[in-house]
Amino acid sequence: MTSSSDALSEGANGNGHAGRYYGQGIPYLPLDTYPGKLIAVEGTDGVGRSVQIQLLREWLEVKGYGVVETGWTRSELMQPTIELAKSSNTLNKLTFVLLYATDFADRLEKEIIPALKAGFVVLSDRYIFTALACAGVRGVDRQWLRNLYGFAIAPHMVFYLNIDVKTLIGRVLESRGMDYWESGMDLKHGDDIYDSFRTYQLRLLKEYASMSDEFHFRTLDARRSVDRIQDELRKQVGAFLEPTQTEKLELKT
C-alpha cells in the first residue's frame, strides 16, 4: 500500500493526501476534482465531539455552506447488525474491525463521496482513526489495519479533541455513565468497570496520540470550555475554507 507517511513532505500544510484516497482506494470510484470538503472531528467517548459539530454546523450554515453530517456506525446497511453483535457479545476483534469497516465503506460510497461531489462540507463525527485506535488497542496488526482502510479518503482537516483520563471520567460520570464497550470490558482487564474504563481509555488516548503526526491531527485541548474550543475550530475551518475572506467576514459579524 501507499503509506500515508509518503505524503508527509507534500503540500503546503504537509498533508498531501488531503481529499485523496490513502491507499489504492476504490478503483471503480475514481476521485477527480470535487468541490466539497471533508472535516473530521476525532476524540474518545464523551470528549464532547457532538456538541462541537452541532455548533460548527450552525456557524457554517449561517455562512451559507451546505453541511452533511456523518457518524460512526450509522449506515442503514450495518447499524442493525452492529447493534446485534454488540448486544450478544459475540464479536471477536477481527469481526469487530471488519463490521465497522463495512459500515464505513457503505457511508463513504453512499453519503460522503456523493456529498463531496455535490459541494457539501462533510462533518464526520469520528472517522477511521477511532477504528484504528480501538483495533490497535485490541492487538490487531497495525499495518493490516492501515491497508484495510486504504480505501478511505484522507480528510482535508482532522481535529483531535485531546483530554486527560481524569477529566474524561468526571465528564462521563456526570452525563451518562460508563458503558460496557467504552470501558473495554471485552478486553477483560477485570470485573470493575471503573478500573477497566480508566485502563482502557488511557490506552486508547495513547493510541490516538501515536497517530497524530502520521495523520496530521490538529489537536485541540478538550479540557477548555465549549466556547473556547468552538472559537478555535471556527478560526481554523474559516481560514481553510476562505483563506482570503476570513478577515472581511469577521468585520461584518
Binding site: L91, T102, N147
Partner: protein, 232 residues
C-alpha cells in the same frame, strides 16, 4: 503485514478447500469427499462460504434491497469469513480434525476483482486467513456450468449472476459475462496459490476418484487414530 495465507499452518488438523464457479459441481464433490473421509474414521467438519449467523442479517438486507456495493459486498464476506475462521475453522484444526471448506478466500479474490475492487487490497484483507493444505479448483467452461444450472432449473441469484454490475438485464447473459470473467481470475489464482485443477467436465464418479487420490497424498495417518484423554 500478516502472511498467514502464504505460510503453512501449524495445526495438527487438515484444511482442504474446493473452489469453482456455480455449476462446477464442487459442492457435490465435497459432500462425497466428506462421506468417504468420515467412513474412513476421520472426524470431519464442513463449512460453507457466507454462512455465519452474525452477518447473515446484513447480507440478506443488502441483497434484498440490492444495496451492496462491490466494496461492502467484499467487506461483508470478509467479516463472515473472519467469524467462521475463528469459531468454526481454527478450533477443529486445533483438535486435529479435517476441515472441508466449500469456497475460501480465493472466491473473494476472483469475484471482488471482477467487481472492480483492487486485487492487492483484497489479498491483504484476507492475509489473516489460514493457508489450506490443499485447494482443489473445479474448472468448468461457462457453457457447461450454465447448462447444468438450467437443467436444475436454478433461478440465478442477483449477485451470483453479477446483476449488480448492470452489464446485462438478462440474468443468464449477465451470469455468462460475470462468471466468464471470474473464470479468468481463477486461472490466475491457480498459479499464484498453487491450486490443484480438476477438470469438472468429467463424470461425478471419475472426478471423485481423482479427488480422493489427490487428498490421500495430503493425509497423514496420525489424524486417524487419536487416543482419548484420561477420564477424570
Amino acid at each position: 503485514m500478516l502472511n498467514n495465507l502464504t505460510q503453512p499452518h501449524e495445526y495438527p488438523g487438515k484444511l482442504f478447500v474446493v473452489e469453482g464457479i456455480d455449476g462446477s459441481g464442487k459442492t457435490t464433490q465435497l459432500a462425497l469427499l466428506a462421506k468417504w473421509l468420515s467412513a474412513s474414521g476421520h472426524r470431519v467438519f464442513v463449512t460453507e462460504w457466507n454462512s455465519s449467523a452474525l452477518v447473515k442479517a446484513a447480507t440478506k438486507t443488502g441483497k434484498k434491497k440490492n444495496a451492496l456495493t462491490p466494496m461492502t459486498f467484499s467487506l461483508l464476506h470478509a467479516t463472515d469469513f473472519a467469524d467462521r475462521l475463528l469459531y468454526k475453522i481454527i478450533p477443529p484444526l486445533k483438535a486435529g480434525m479435517i476441515v472441508l471448506a466449500d469456497r475460501y478466500a480465493f472466491t473473494a479474490f476472483a469475484r471482488d476483482a471482477t467487481r472492480g475492487v483492487d486485487r492487492q487490497w483484497v489479498r491483504e484483507l484476507y492475509s489473516f486467513a489460514v493457508r489450506p493444505d490443499l485447494s482443489l479448483y473445479f474448472r468448468v467452461p461457462i457453457d457447461v456450468s450454465v447448462d447444468r444450472l438450467m437443467a436444475r432449473r436454478v433461478k440465478l441469484k442477483f449477485y451470483e449472476a453479477g446483476m449488480d454490475l448492470g452489464w446485462s438485464a438478462n440474468p443468464v447473459e449477465s451470469f455468462r459475462m460475470f462468471q466468464g470473467k471470474v473464470l479468468d481470475e481463477y486461472d490466475e489464482l491457480v498459479n499464484e496459490f498453487g491450486m490443484e485443477v480438476i477438470d469438472a467436465r468429467g463424470s461425478i464418479t471419475d472426478q471423485q476418484r481423482l479427488v480422493r487420490s489427490v487428498i490421500t497424498q495430503h493425509l497423514n495417518v496420525n489424524t486417524v487414530e487419536t487416543t482419548d484423554d484420561e477420564l477424570v
